[in-house]
Protein backbone atom coordinates (compact mmCIF):
# COMPACT_ATOMS: atom_id res chain seq x y z
CA UNK A 1 0.00 0.00 0.00
CA UNK A 2 2.82 2.36 0.83
CA UNK A 3 4.27 1.85 -2.62
CA UNK A 4 0.93 2.77 -4.22
CA UNK A 5 0.72 5.96 -2.22
CA UNK A 6 4.26 6.97 -3.24
CA UNK A 7 3.75 6.26 -6.90
CA UNK A 8 4.10 9.35 -9.10
CA UNK A 9 0.86 9.42 -11.19
CA UNK A 10 2.73 10.90 -14.16
CA UNK A 11 5.30 8.11 -14.02
CA UNK A 12 2.63 5.46 -13.59
CA UNK A 13 0.76 6.79 -16.62
CA UNK A 14 3.93 6.81 -18.72
CA UNK A 15 4.87 3.31 -17.58
CA UNK A 16 1.45 2.05 -18.60
CA UNK A 17 1.69 3.76 -21.98
CA UNK A 18 5.22 2.47 -22.59
CA UNK A 19 4.24 -1.02 -21.46
CA UNK A 20 1.16 -1.07 -23.66
CA UNK A 21 3.13 0.02 -26.73
CA UNK A 22 5.85 -2.54 -26.04
CA UNK A 23 3.33 -5.31 -25.37
CA UNK A 24 1.58 -4.56 -28.67
CA UNK A 25 4.95 -4.52 -30.44
CA UNK A 26 5.85 -7.88 -28.89
CA UNK A 27 2.54 -9.39 -29.99
CA UNK A 28 3.08 -8.16 -33.56
CA UNK A 29 6.64 -9.49 -33.54
CA UNK A 30 5.49 -12.83 -32.13
CA UNK A 31 2.84 -13.18 -34.83
CA UNK A 32 5.30 -12.20 -37.56
CA UNK A 33 7.81 -14.78 -36.29
CA UNK A 34 5.22 -17.51 -36.70
CA UNK A 35 4.69 -16.66 -40.39
CA UNK A 36 7.55 -17.17 -42.87
CA UNK A 37 6.72 -14.67 -45.58
CA UNK A 38 8.22 -11.42 -46.93
CA UNK A 39 5.22 -9.46 -45.60
CA UNK A 40 5.80 -10.84 -42.10
CA UNK A 41 9.33 -9.42 -42.23
CA UNK A 42 7.94 -6.03 -43.24
CA UNK A 43 5.35 -6.21 -40.44
CA UNK A 44 8.07 -7.18 -37.97
CA UNK A 45 10.20 -4.17 -38.89
CA UNK A 46 7.62 -1.51 -39.62
CA UNK A 47 4.82 -2.23 -37.12
CA UNK A 48 6.48 -4.32 -34.39
CA UNK A 49 9.75 -2.39 -34.53
CA UNK A 50 7.97 0.97 -34.50
CA UNK A 51 5.78 0.05 -31.51
CA UNK A 52 8.79 -1.24 -29.56
CA UNK A 53 10.77 1.88 -30.43
CA UNK A 54 7.95 4.20 -29.35
CA UNK A 55 7.43 2.28 -26.10
CA UNK A 56 11.12 2.44 -25.25
CA UNK A 57 11.25 6.17 -26.08
CA UNK A 58 8.21 6.85 -23.86
CA UNK A 59 9.84 4.91 -21.00
CA UNK A 60 13.24 6.57 -21.35
CA UNK A 61 11.79 10.08 -21.64
CA UNK A 62 9.65 9.37 -18.55
CA UNK A 63 12.84 8.43 -16.68
CA UNK A 64 14.59 11.69 -17.48
CA UNK A 65 11.51 13.94 -17.16
CA UNK A 66 11.37 16.18 -14.09
CA UNK A 67 9.29 14.59 -11.30
CA UNK A 68 5.81 16.12 -11.05
CA UNK A 69 4.06 16.51 -7.75
Amino acid sequence: MTETQDQDPFMAKRLRLAGTLIALGLVVEGLSLSWNHPLSFVAFLSIGGLLLFLGIVVYLTALVSPRRT
Partner: protein, 204 residues
Protein backbone atom coordinates in the same frame (compact mmCIF):
# COMPACT_ATOMS: atom_id res chain seq x y z
CA UNK B 1 19.50 -18.99 -31.98
CA UNK B 2 16.59 -21.47 -32.29
CA UNK B 3 13.16 -19.98 -32.87
CA UNK B 4 11.93 -21.55 -29.62
CA UNK B 5 14.52 -19.55 -27.66
CA UNK B 6 13.46 -16.34 -29.40
CA UNK B 7 9.83 -17.04 -28.47
CA UNK B 8 10.89 -17.80 -24.89
CA UNK B 9 12.64 -14.41 -24.56
CA UNK B 10 9.62 -12.74 -26.16
CA UNK B 11 7.21 -14.40 -23.71
CA UNK B 12 9.35 -13.54 -20.68
CA UNK B 13 9.46 -9.92 -21.86
CA UNK B 14 5.71 -9.90 -22.42
CA UNK B 15 5.04 -11.24 -18.90
CA UNK B 16 7.27 -8.57 -17.33
CA UNK B 17 5.67 -5.82 -19.41
CA UNK B 18 2.15 -6.96 -18.54
CA UNK B 19 3.09 -7.03 -14.85
CA UNK B 20 4.40 -3.46 -15.11
CA UNK B 21 1.26 -2.28 -16.92
CA UNK B 22 -0.99 -3.93 -14.35
CA UNK B 23 0.98 -2.78 -11.32
CA UNK B 24 3.21 0.23 -12.11
CA UNK B 25 3.47 0.88 -8.36
CA UNK B 26 6.05 -1.90 -8.06
CA UNK B 27 8.58 0.44 -9.69
CA UNK B 28 8.68 2.53 -6.54
CA UNK B 29 10.95 -0.06 -4.95
CA UNK B 30 14.52 -0.47 -6.17
CA UNK B 31 13.85 -3.99 -7.43
CA UNK B 32 10.83 -2.74 -9.36
CA UNK B 33 12.93 -0.05 -11.02
CA UNK B 34 15.43 -2.69 -12.15
CA UNK B 35 12.58 -4.87 -13.40
CA UNK B 36 11.11 -1.92 -15.33
CA UNK B 37 14.47 -1.15 -16.91
CA UNK B 38 14.84 -4.79 -17.95
CA UNK B 39 11.25 -5.16 -19.12
CA UNK B 40 10.85 -1.83 -20.89
CA UNK B 41 14.31 -1.42 -22.36
CA UNK B 42 16.79 -4.31 -22.22
CA UNK B 43 14.47 -7.21 -23.05
CA UNK B 44 12.50 -5.43 -25.82
CA UNK B 45 15.78 -4.47 -27.52
CA UNK B 46 17.05 -8.04 -27.11
CA UNK B 47 13.78 -9.47 -28.44
CA UNK B 48 13.91 -7.14 -31.44
CA UNK B 49 17.50 -8.11 -32.28
CA UNK B 50 16.88 -11.84 -31.86
CA UNK B 51 13.66 -11.63 -33.87
CA UNK B 52 15.44 -9.73 -36.63
CA UNK B 53 18.19 -12.34 -36.77
CA UNK B 54 15.56 -15.09 -36.92
CA UNK B 55 13.74 -13.35 -39.75
CA UNK B 56 16.97 -12.88 -41.73
CA UNK B 57 17.87 -16.56 -41.28
CA UNK B 58 14.41 -17.70 -42.35
CA UNK B 59 14.50 -15.39 -45.38
CA UNK B 60 17.31 -17.61 -46.73
CA UNK B 61 14.88 -20.52 -47.04
CA UNK B 62 13.78 -21.62 -50.50
CA UNK B 63 10.09 -21.51 -49.51
CA UNK B 64 10.50 -17.87 -48.44
CA UNK B 65 11.77 -16.86 -51.91
CA UNK B 66 9.11 -18.92 -53.66
CA UNK B 67 6.28 -17.45 -51.57
CA UNK B 68 6.12 -14.59 -54.10
CA UNK B 69 4.00 -15.59 -57.11
CA UNK B 70 6.51 -14.18 -59.58
CA UNK B 71 9.16 -16.62 -58.35
CA UNK B 72 7.07 -19.75 -58.94
CA UNK B 73 8.61 -20.59 -62.37
CA UNK B 74 12.06 -20.32 -60.81
CA UNK B 75 11.01 -22.82 -58.16
CA UNK B 76 9.66 -25.15 -60.84
CA UNK B 77 12.92 -24.84 -62.77
CA UNK B 78 14.69 -26.62 -59.91
CA UNK B 79 12.79 -29.77 -60.87
CA UNK B 80 13.55 -29.77 -64.62
CA UNK B 81 14.63 -33.28 -65.58
CA UNK B 82 17.59 -32.22 -67.73
CA UNK B 83 21.24 -32.31 -66.62
CA UNK B 84 22.12 -29.28 -68.73
CA UNK B 85 20.07 -27.01 -66.42
CA UNK B 86 22.57 -25.81 -63.85
CA UNK B 87 20.18 -24.82 -61.01
CA UNK B 88 18.17 -28.02 -61.43
CA UNK B 89 21.17 -30.34 -61.42
CA UNK B 90 22.58 -28.61 -58.32
CA UNK B 91 19.24 -28.77 -56.49
CA UNK B 92 18.39 -32.36 -57.38
CA UNK B 93 21.83 -33.73 -56.51
CA UNK B 94 22.15 -31.86 -53.20
CA UNK B 95 25.05 -29.77 -54.47
CA UNK B 96 23.22 -26.93 -52.78
CA UNK B 97 21.11 -27.40 -49.64
CA UNK B 98 17.55 -27.78 -50.91
CA UNK B 99 16.06 -25.69 -48.12
CA UNK B 100 18.38 -22.78 -48.99
CA UNK B 101 18.77 -23.35 -52.72
CA UNK B 102 18.08 -19.76 -53.84
CA UNK B 103 20.28 -18.11 -51.24
CA UNK B 104 23.26 -20.44 -51.86
CA UNK B 105 23.65 -19.16 -55.43
CA UNK B 106 22.31 -15.62 -54.86
CA UNK B 107 24.10 -14.53 -51.69
CA UNK B 108 24.15 -10.97 -52.99
CA UNK B 109 20.37 -10.57 -52.85
CA UNK B 110 19.31 -7.20 -51.42
CA UNK B 111 18.89 -8.29 -47.82
CA UNK B 112 22.34 -9.74 -47.32
CA UNK B 113 24.69 -7.26 -48.92
CA UNK B 114 24.79 -3.76 -50.33
CA UNK B 115 23.94 -0.47 -48.74
CA UNK B 116 20.76 1.56 -48.44
CA UNK B 117 19.99 1.30 -52.17
CA UNK B 118 20.05 -2.49 -52.01
CA UNK B 119 17.62 -2.53 -49.07
CA UNK B 120 15.40 -0.01 -50.85
CA UNK B 121 15.31 -2.32 -53.88
CA UNK B 122 14.16 -5.13 -51.58
CA UNK B 123 11.28 -2.95 -50.36
CA UNK B 124 10.51 -2.05 -53.96
CA UNK B 125 10.23 -5.77 -54.78
CA UNK B 126 7.56 -6.13 -52.08
CA UNK B 127 5.76 -3.02 -53.33
CA UNK B 128 5.83 -4.33 -56.91
CA UNK B 129 4.61 -7.75 -55.80
CA UNK B 130 1.61 -6.61 -53.77
CA UNK B 131 0.71 -3.11 -54.97
CA UNK B 132 2.47 -2.32 -58.24
CA UNK B 133 3.30 -4.36 -61.30
CA UNK B 134 6.31 -6.68 -61.20
CA UNK B 135 8.74 -6.34 -64.07
CA UNK B 136 8.62 -9.34 -66.39
CA UNK B 137 10.88 -11.17 -66.91
CA UNK B 138 12.77 -10.96 -63.64
CA UNK B 139 16.32 -9.76 -64.22
CA UNK B 140 19.37 -9.53 -61.98
CA UNK B 141 20.55 -6.00 -61.21
CA UNK B 142 24.14 -7.04 -61.88
CA UNK B 143 25.64 -9.83 -64.01
CA UNK B 144 25.82 -13.11 -62.11
CA UNK B 145 29.00 -13.08 -60.06
CA UNK B 146 31.29 -16.11 -60.45
CA UNK B 147 31.92 -15.85 -56.72
CA UNK B 148 28.58 -17.65 -56.23
CA UNK B 149 30.01 -20.69 -58.05
CA UNK B 150 33.54 -20.44 -56.69
CA UNK B 151 32.59 -20.43 -53.02
CA UNK B 152 31.91 -24.14 -53.49
CA UNK B 153 33.85 -25.17 -56.59
CA UNK B 154 37.13 -23.39 -55.88
CA UNK B 155 39.46 -25.86 -54.26
CA UNK B 156 37.51 -28.86 -55.57
CA UNK B 157 39.83 -31.27 -57.37
CA UNK B 158 37.56 -32.04 -60.33
CA UNK B 159 37.11 -28.30 -60.91
CA UNK B 160 40.71 -27.15 -60.60
CA UNK B 161 42.26 -30.10 -62.45
CA UNK B 162 39.87 -29.82 -65.38
CA UNK B 163 41.85 -28.58 -68.39
CA UNK B 164 39.26 -26.01 -69.47
CA UNK B 165 38.80 -24.50 -66.02
CA UNK B 166 42.56 -24.48 -65.32
CA UNK B 167 43.28 -22.63 -68.55
CA UNK B 168 40.65 -19.97 -67.81
CA UNK B 169 41.06 -19.78 -64.04
CA UNK B 170 42.29 -16.18 -63.89
CA UNK B 171 39.45 -14.94 -66.08
CA UNK B 172 36.93 -16.93 -64.07
CA UNK B 173 38.20 -15.59 -60.75
CA UNK B 174 38.23 -12.00 -62.00
CA UNK B 175 34.75 -12.29 -63.56
CA UNK B 176 36.17 -11.44 -66.98
CA UNK B 177 34.56 -14.64 -68.12
CA UNK B 178 31.17 -15.53 -66.70
CA UNK B 179 30.50 -19.12 -65.68
CA UNK B 180 26.88 -18.86 -66.79
CA UNK B 181 27.02 -16.28 -69.56
CA UNK B 182 29.90 -17.28 -71.78
CA UNK B 183 28.43 -20.26 -73.55
CA UNK B 184 29.79 -22.77 -71.02
CA UNK B 185 27.05 -23.27 -68.40
CA UNK B 186 24.44 -20.92 -69.79
CA UNK B 187 21.34 -23.07 -69.31
CA UNK B 188 19.98 -21.65 -66.08
CA UNK B 189 16.37 -21.19 -64.94
CA UNK B 190 14.77 -20.61 -68.37
CA UNK B 191 11.64 -19.58 -66.46
CA UNK B 192 9.57 -18.59 -69.50
CA UNK B 193 9.62 -22.13 -70.88
CA UNK B 194 9.66 -24.09 -67.66
CA UNK B 195 6.05 -25.31 -67.88
CA UNK B 196 6.70 -27.20 -71.10
CA UNK B 197 9.72 -29.10 -69.80
CA UNK B 198 9.79 -32.55 -68.24
CA UNK B 199 10.07 -32.45 -64.43
CA UNK B 200 11.78 -34.68 -61.92
CA UNK B 201 9.64 -35.98 -59.10
CA UNK B 202 11.46 -36.78 -55.82
CA UNK B 203 8.92 -39.55 -55.10
CA UNK B 204 10.14 -41.63 -58.06
Amino acid sequence: MPAAAVFAVLLITLVIVCLLVARPAITVARGGKVLAFLGLFIFPVLTGLLGFEDHVERSKETKFCLSCHIMEPYGKSLYIDDKSYIPAVHFQNNRVPRDQACYTCHTDYTLYTGGFNAKFRGLHHIYAQYIGKPQQPVKLYHPFNNRECLHCHLGARNFEEGATHAALMDDIKSNKMSCVGSGCHDMVHNASQVDGLKKWSPQQ
